[in-house]
Amino acid sequence: MIRHVILRVMAKMLIPLIMLFALYVQFHGDYGPGGGFQAGVIFGAAIILFALIFGLERAKQAFPPRVLEVLVAVGLMIYGGTGLAAIVKGGNFLGYGALAHDPVHGQHLGILLVELGVGITVASVMSTIFFHFAGRGRADV
């Protein structure tokens, strides 16, 4: 796949933009369409595009599967941890109002953290699943 110059150059230009767009979708989800799930899928798509163009081995160097496997759990733990933090602060599980002095600020913070957890989990799940599918057959996808 590395021989195709046009694909390689275009991918090099597009992958940072796709990742940046994923971050925009992630953190602008409060104000426009989008959120953690969509952002995670877009970020995962950028990683998969990298793997398709530059080969599985280089993708595994850039995004180590060990780290991705840990991030799968970390995202879920950020979500659950936000819920537990609300309990520690004296509220209900996932009742973000208790996270800050002003309930509205607490809600905002809670939604941001929870969406971040969803995004991290989804992005690493998508790329991990693709790495496992692609790793079974030919090494260069």
Binding site: I111, V114, V125
Partner: protein
């Protein structure tokens, strides 16, 4: 105009669905499924459900197409055809079920009906209170992450579980197995 767009999109959805069923080349079927998802996403956009359309476009047309193609590269892209004698009883069952489903749609409220139950149960509360409760302008995000936080937690757990399943089935656990049995690996005769 909006009716024309609806009819156009629904007609193409039906045509693509029939084409996917008739198709024996799985590579083309996967591509058509991607187009099907993209058309559904446009349909959701026309219906003002942009968050759903966003998800459908990124998941249905994007990731799942790529995963299907990855699967095809591991197997073959031709469907193995298996001749089966026509079964009249199966046709009767399918026609009756289809007729019952169509009959059930007559009881559904009209699309966008303001008096429909879906627009009154808790929707009124969300529309009235979201901005005061959470300060988040996108109501969909507020409902998914805050009001329905338990459901989204469950969904994230489902995705996590799916990933663990894929890792166990496709070799993620193999390294641990090898590590446990590393003494046996050098000498195949020693194994019982």
């Amino acid at each position: 105009m909006i009716n024309f767009i609806h009819i156009f999109l629904f007609t193409f959805l039906a045509i693509i669905a029939i084409a996917v069923i008739r198709m024996r080349d799985l590579f083309a079927a996967v591509m058509l499924m991607g187009i099907f998802s993209l058309l559904s996403a446009s349909l959701f956009t026309v219906m003002d459900a942009v968050d759903v359309a966003f998800t459908e476009a990124s998941v249905g047309a994007g990731i799942s197409t790529i995963l299907m193609l990855a699967t095809l590269s591991l197997t073959t892209s031709k469907e193995s055809t298996l001749y089966q004698r026509p079964r009249p009883l199966a046709l009767v069952v399918v026609v009756l079920t289809g007729a019952a489903l169509v009959y059930a749609t007559f009881d559904m409220p009209r699309y966008g009906d303001p008096a429909a139950p879906i627009n009154h149960h808790v929707a009124d509360y969300y529309i009235a209170r979201t901005m005061d409760d959470t300060g988040v302008p996108n109501m969909v995000t507020a409902i998914l992450a805050s009001y329905r936080g338990y459901d989204t937690f469950g969904e994230t757990t489902v995705i996590f579980t799916a990933c663990v399943g894929v890792m166990l089935l496709l070799g993620g656990a193999r390294t641990f197995y090898r590590w446990r049995h590393r003494e046996d690996a050098g000498d195949p005769e020693a194994r019982p």
